[in-house]
């Protein structure tokens, strides 16, 4: 496996939890963070689709990030949020467990993901950012949002 080359650039990350993972998304990709959890189940949808949401009159498909990363789905609790991102000009929601923080991540502490990170979900990470106390798995959004 070739190790992707990460440009050591500084960026702001939205930190959140998904299952036992601490994840980050580049702030620039985030349209909004929504607390509307009134998600309508869509039967026969791919298992990682949690359902659909009424985002101010627009239909928003919500991806269950836990499922996408190979974890068990969790029932809705009040800490959960829908992180709205864009994919090919269309908005898509990511259901995450809890928003943690927004940090400025400097490029020096950003590294390619180690091969063993998070098992199945490993392919969804573009980098690992080392904080003093924890490691942040930086999501490769395009991978995550692939069908």
């Amino acid at each position: 496996m070739t190790v992707p080359i990460i440009e050591a650039e500084d960026r702001d990350l939205v930190l959140f939890r998904s299952g036992d993972l601490l994840c980050g998304i580049d702030v620039a990709r985030v349209r909004e963070i929504n607390r509307n959890l009134d998600i309508t189940v869509v039967h026969r949808a791919p298992d990682y689709v949690r359902g659909v949401l009424n985002l101010r009159g627009q239909l928003l498909t919500v991806i269950d990030l836990r499922r996408k990363l190979g974890m068990e789905s969790a029932s809705i609790d009040l800490n959960m949020r829908v992180v709205v991102v864009r994919r090919d000009g269309v908005e898509v929601g990511l259901l995450i467990d809890q928003i943690v923080d927004i940090i400025a991540a400097d490029g020096l502490n950003t590294e390619p993901p180690p091969a063993n990170v998070a098992g199945v979900g490993g392919i969804f990470f573009s980098a690992v950012y080392k904080m003093e106390t924890a490691l942040v798995a930086v999501l490769d959004l395009d991978r995550v949002l692939e069908k």
Binding site: V42, H43, R44, G57, I63
Partner: protein, 1122 residues
């Protein structure tokens, strides 16, 4: 570009596209008419092209202007009967129109496109085409004298007259993009007033000869006739000039020139173009127009030289480059007009190079300048030859053109190299290349906008009212206002939807061209017949319809229709007919493509299917002809051995089917060997907002489009075993002797067997998936609503079982079920065999059906009257109506029939004045009366009016959606009550019960409940109202002694009417109570079951008179009048 400019550009593009749409059909008609020129038609095309030219030149879109100009010139000849359009000429014009359309679709780069080939082809039309002289039409001169006799006596200042003006003034005029006119006065007509009049209109560039009668004028007015009428002159006295028809010279020179040149030196044929030019060789010295050309060109060549001088010193000088480009461009136009095609081509290439350099911000390198200079000197040589009165030598310019092309590698070399050969691109190519223009804006009639504006105003008013009455806490007023709000919203919605409606003719129209081109290519003789072009469809559907229809038409032409010789051998008319037809049917639009060609041979399909090996042999062998023919919609199926350009290799039909199904369409095919094929496509009117039934499964809600809903069936618990049967793993529903595949919504969502609740009644939706039907069990039937369809993104579209989603009133999302998708995924059609042959049998549907007569009072409003109330329908002439005071009546069956108009009482649009109208005769309060309506629309059985809610007002009992239209339900009783209150009072007084009697009304549908309650209360009874059987039993338990009669629905959840009757009968306290069942469950069998359960009277819904009579009969209060 500013927004303002953008808007203008956008408006221009749209308008031009509309013009072009029209042009295509018109051109074909002109061609068909041949020598019998329809002036109006030609003028129309001419005007269309002319306005494109005008607009584009205003916007500085030079290529478009130039090409439009080329087309205009040809059309002008046609108009002047100098030319008769034949197939070739039409093809060139059509191809040019295509190129125009292409450039319009991408105006940004339109000027980069090389249109030399098109221009050349256009210019070649008078040569290569059939000049009028060779055709059976009169010679040009004769034709001219016939067409415009008034011109004859006037001296003609033809376009070739050398008119010279002051150069600065001309430049200014050109910069302003004004039109140049040559205005001619009779010598005695010129006075000071004339000059003043001209100055008022524009600017006089020059008075051609001192004291003479010719003026050059430039003005922003675009039409000769307008200028003429403004100046109070004959049209013939005003000429439109092209800028280069005017000499840029000092007035003095002009006078000199005029002095040397006879005023009318040129023969008529002269403006035929190159031919005319060559004809001048015989004359002494170059013809004036050639002189004019030469002067212009020399002048421009000088300019080029100057620009080169600057550029050789400063290769990056932008101004010099611009001047160079301008000069080359203008020479090119002039050269083109002279018919010097080689030179034109050369200069075109040069122009390309310069344009690219300009666009890219590059400088002119020495090497480039060298080649361009070569080009300039070659041009100069040709000019010199022309001047010396000789024909230009044949030169090989290929090398130079190639050199230029190398400088501009991005350009398309074929266009240049093939020159003349490519001038007439094959029609097929152009039709294929034509890219679909996605419309981003829409033209809407001002009337519609006005209506929207009014409705918006209404909405605001109503909102304010609502605020007020809510603040006051007046419950009744709130209700009234809410109803008003509902009405306004519905109207607003309908109006908005109607702005999206477009006639299907906009798609059909383009088939004239496609069919013509393809038929030509295939050497087939096909007449295209279009019907129903005015039928309207949602614009999104119209847009998406184009491709599948094109495919079907191509298939018909390629595979279906035979060549004339084959047809002749088979004893058919050599000319085949292709019929494209659109029509309305039951709230949907049907589009039919019918050919009278060879048809599809089911045996061929069978052979093919067997040879493909994808199908089960026994299955294929057992298939009927119809099913075999339908196989062509399967992927990869083609029976045609030869792959043709026209319809490809048979990968299409499945795509056609998929695309049409996506639009909510249903495709059907009928074919008879030797007789032809018909493909029928059923389409919904609109996609954006659809009527749907909401159903519940647990806590979830789903929407089912009404178009897919055949009926609702409720299977009571005690009949489950009889009606629902197991066939292996599958369930089937027995419905009127047929077996329908049955599936539960839960089962749709899961591949495992779902453990279902096996007790209680079942709610079954009978769904239509194309030709085939199946039942779906849902937990609950909720409202029927108009829903706004939101498309799914591609995460979900793969689920196949959803047609979209909608957002409900409470903000929650509900998925819209895709009835066809579900049947596919669950393979329900495989079970269809058992259920074949189900016919719509309205009379004994096991569902809430009301038979309604649909009528128009005003054509904008659809009204419904229950058929059961109408005793007769008469068609009368308006003279038969007699008026006394405000009342109308007519002679009827020996007496007078009082006539009502709906608008007398109800707030509906008044009936338009028509010669003939219809009278619906009905009886209210023992009086026979007639209701006048303007038109009968249909009789329909409305299966799902379960939730006919909506506004109630005078004479109207509510609204519902029928065939996709909001329909007002006429309340005949209320109408009479309002117009003739005394009848009702007298009637009620006659029947008034001695003591007040109480009637228990049991009905689960709010609409019917309200109706029954009103009937009963208005007739003087007291009403107790409950929603279902269980509540009725509770009510009986509580206050049974007060109740005198039970009026109940049969179809109800939990305890239904029959069960209620049984339970009442077994209870000694109530055994004597009269029970009247009011239901839409007609039929002897149902009636018998009712009587068995203990029902005394069995009545059909909403027939007020019947219901009241039955009540009176049972309570013994109505005997005196019956």
């Amino acid at each position: 570009m500013t927004d303002y400019d953008d808007n203008i550009l956008q408006a221009f593009i749209e308008e031009s596209q509309e013009h072009l749409d029209g042009i295509e059909n018109d051109l074909l008609r002109i061609e068909a008419a041949g020598a019998e020129i329809d002036d109006d038609l030609v003028n129309e095309v001419f005007r269309a092209v002319h306005s494109i030219k005008g607009g584009s030149s205003f916007l500085g879109l030079e290529n478009i202007t130039e090409l439009a100009h080329g087309m205009e010139s040809v059309l002008n000849m046609v108009r002047n009967r100098q030319l008769v359009l034949d197939g070739t000429g039409t093809s060139v014009l059509l191809a040019s129109a295509d190129v125009l359309a292409g450039m319009l679709a991408d105006t940004g780069s339109s000027d980069e496109r090389d249109i030399a080939a098109e221009l050349e082809a256009l210019q070649a039309i008078p040569d290569g085409g059939s000049p009028a002289a060779q055709s059976p039409t009169p010679s040009p001169v004769a034709a001219k004298s016939v067409a415009t006799p008034t011109i004859e006596p006037t001296p003609e200042p033809t376009a070739s007259l050398p008119v010279s003006v002051d150069e600065a003034a001309l430049d200014e005029a050109l910069e302003m993009l004004d039109y140049l006119y040559l205005v001619e006065y009779g010598a005695d007509e010129v006075d000071e007033g004339v000059l003043a009049g001209l100055e008022e209109l524009g600017t006089v560039l020059s008075q051609v000869a001192q004291g003479a009668s010719l003026f050059v004028l430039f003005a922003t007015v675009a039409d000769v006739d307008v200028v003429a009428s403004l100046l109070e002159l004959e049209e013939a006295q005003v000429r439109l000039l092209e800028p280069d028809q005017v000499w840029a010279a000092s007035p003095v020179e002009a006078v000199d020139t005029l002095a040397q040149t006879p005023v009318l030196p040129v023969a008529n044929g002269d403006d035929l173009g190159p031919e005319g030019m060559l004809a001048m060789d015989a004359a002494v010295g170059p013809a004036p127009e050639v002189m004019r050309f030469l002067n212009l060109t020399y002048d421009l060549l000088n300019k080029m030289d100057q620009a080169f001088e600057v550029l050789l010193r400063k290769p990056g000088d932008v101004d010099a480059l611009a001047n160079l480009f301008d000069a080359v461009h203008r020479i090119k136009i002039a050269v083109g007009e002279q018919g010097l095609t080689d030179l034109d081509r050369l200069l075109g290439a040069g122009e390309d190079v310069l344009n690219r350099l300009r666009a890219g911000g590059f400088g002119v390198e020495a090497a480039t300048a060298e080649i361009l200079l070569d080009m300039a000197s070659l041009t100069g040589e040709v000019c010199a030859e022309l001047e010396s009165d000789s024909l230009p030598e044949e030169r090989d310019i290929t090398a130079l053109v190639d050199q230029l092309l190398e400088l501009a590698p991005e350009s398309e070399p074929e266009q240049h190299r093939n020159g003349q050969a490519d001038a007439m691109p094959p029609a097929k190519k152009t039709t294929v290349v034509k890219s679909p223009i996605v419309e981003t804006s829409l033209r809407v009639h001002v009337r519609l906008l006005d209506r929207l504006m009014n409705l918006a105003g209404e909405l605001v008013l109503t909102r304010n009212q609502l605020k007020q009455v809510v603040a006051l806490g007046d419950g009744a007023a709130v209700e009234r206002t809410t109803q008003r709000l509902d009405q306004v919203t519905t109207e607003l919605q309908e109006t908005v939807v109607s702005t999206r409606m477009q006639p299907v003719g906009s798609v059909f129209g383009k088939f004239r061209r496609i069919v013509r081109d393809i038929a030509r290519d295939l050497n087939k003789d096909v007449e295209l017949v279009l019907e129903g072009e005015e039928v309207e469809l949602d614009k999104t559907i119209i847009e998406a319809l184009s491709d599948p229809l094109t495919h079907l038409v191509r298939n018909a032409l390629d595979h279906g229709i035979e060549t004339p010789s084959v047809r002749y051998e088979q004893g058919k008319q050599p000319t085949a007919t292709l019929l494209l037809r659109a029509l309305h049917e039951a709230g949907q639009v049907i589009i039919e493509i019918t050919d009278n060609g060879a048809g599809i041979d089911p045996e061929n399909i069978r052979t093919k299917a067997l040879s493909m090996g994808n199908y089960d042999t026994s299955q294929i062998n057992s298939m009927g002809d119809r099913d075999l023919v339908r196989l062509i919609f399967h992927p990869g199926f083609s029976t045609v051995e030869e792959v043709t350009d026209i319809s490809g290799r048979g990968v299409g039909m499945d795509v056609v089917l998929t695309n049409l199904t996506k639009l909510g369409g249903i495709v059907d095919i009928d074919s008879e060997v030797g007789r032809g094929t018909t493909v029928r496509v059923k389409l919904p009117l609109t996609l954006a907002i659809i009527p749907a039934l909401l159903v519940g499964m647990g806590s979830e809600r789903f929407a089912v489009p009404q178009v897919n809903l055949a009926e609702l069936v409720r299977v009571p618990m005690w009949r489950r075993e009889e009606l629902v049967q197991e066939l292996g793993n599958a369930q089937v529903l027995r419905l009127r002797g047929n077996l329908l595949p049955l599936i539960s919504l839960r089962q749709v969502f899961s591949d495992e067997i779902v453990d279902e609740d096996h007790s209680g009644a079942l709610n079954v939706l009978v769904l239509k998936a194309g030709d085939f039907r199946y039942g779906m069990i849902v937990d609950e039937l909720l409202d029927s609503e108009e829903i706004v369809v939101k498309p799914l993104d591609d995460f979900l579209s793969a689920c196949k079982i959803y047609a979209g989603a909608t957002i409900l009133g409470d903000g929650q999302v509900a998925m819209i079920l895709d009835v066809i998708g579900i049947s596919d995924i669950k393979d329900l059609e495989a079970m269809e065999g058992a259920s074949a042959g189900i016919e719509e049998d309205i009379d004994d549907l096991d569902s809430d059906v009301q038979e309604l007569l649909l009528v128009y009072n005003h054509p904008d409003e659809q009204l419904a009257v229950p058929v059961s109330l109408v005793s007769r329908i008469e068609r009368i002439h308006c003279d038969q109506i007699q008026r006394t005071g405000t009342r109308a009546s007519m002679q009827y069956l020996g007496g007078h029939l009082v006539l009502f108009s709906l608008e007398d009482a109800a707030a509906v649009s008044p009936r338009p004045e028509t010669d003939y109208l219809y009278v619906l005769v009905f009886t209210v309060a023992d009086h026979e009366v007639g209701l006048l309506v303007s038109e009968l629309v249909d009789i329909t059985s409305q299966a799902v009016d379960v939730s006919v809610e909506g506004f109630v007002q005078a004479g109207i009992m509510g609204s519902t959606t029928i065939s996709g239209r909001t329909t007002l339900m006429v309340d005949l009783y209320d109408l009479v009550r309002r117009l003739e209150p005394t009848w009702i009072e007298e009637h009620n007084a006659r029947y008034k019960a001695e003591s007040e009697r109480t009637i228990l009304i049991v009905e689960d549908t709010a609409f019917f409940r309200n109706q029954l309650e009103r009937f009963v209360v208005e007739a003087g009874y007291r009403a107790l109202v409950v929603e279902d059987g269980a509540k009725a039993l509770a009510e009986l338990e509580r206050r049974g002694d007060e109740i005198d009669l039970i009026l109940t629905d049969i179809e109800m959840p939990e305890i239904d009417g029959l069960e209620l009757a049984r339970r009442v009968r077994v209870e000694p306290r109530f055994a004597h109570l009269p029970i009247i069942a009011v239901t839409s469950l007609g039929g002897e069998e149902n009636e018998r079951r009712g009587r068995d359960a203990g029902v005394d009277e069995y009545l059909i819904k909403i027939n007020r008179e019947q219901i009241l009579q039955a009540i009176r009969r049972r309570l013994g209060t109505g005997s005196l009048a019956l």
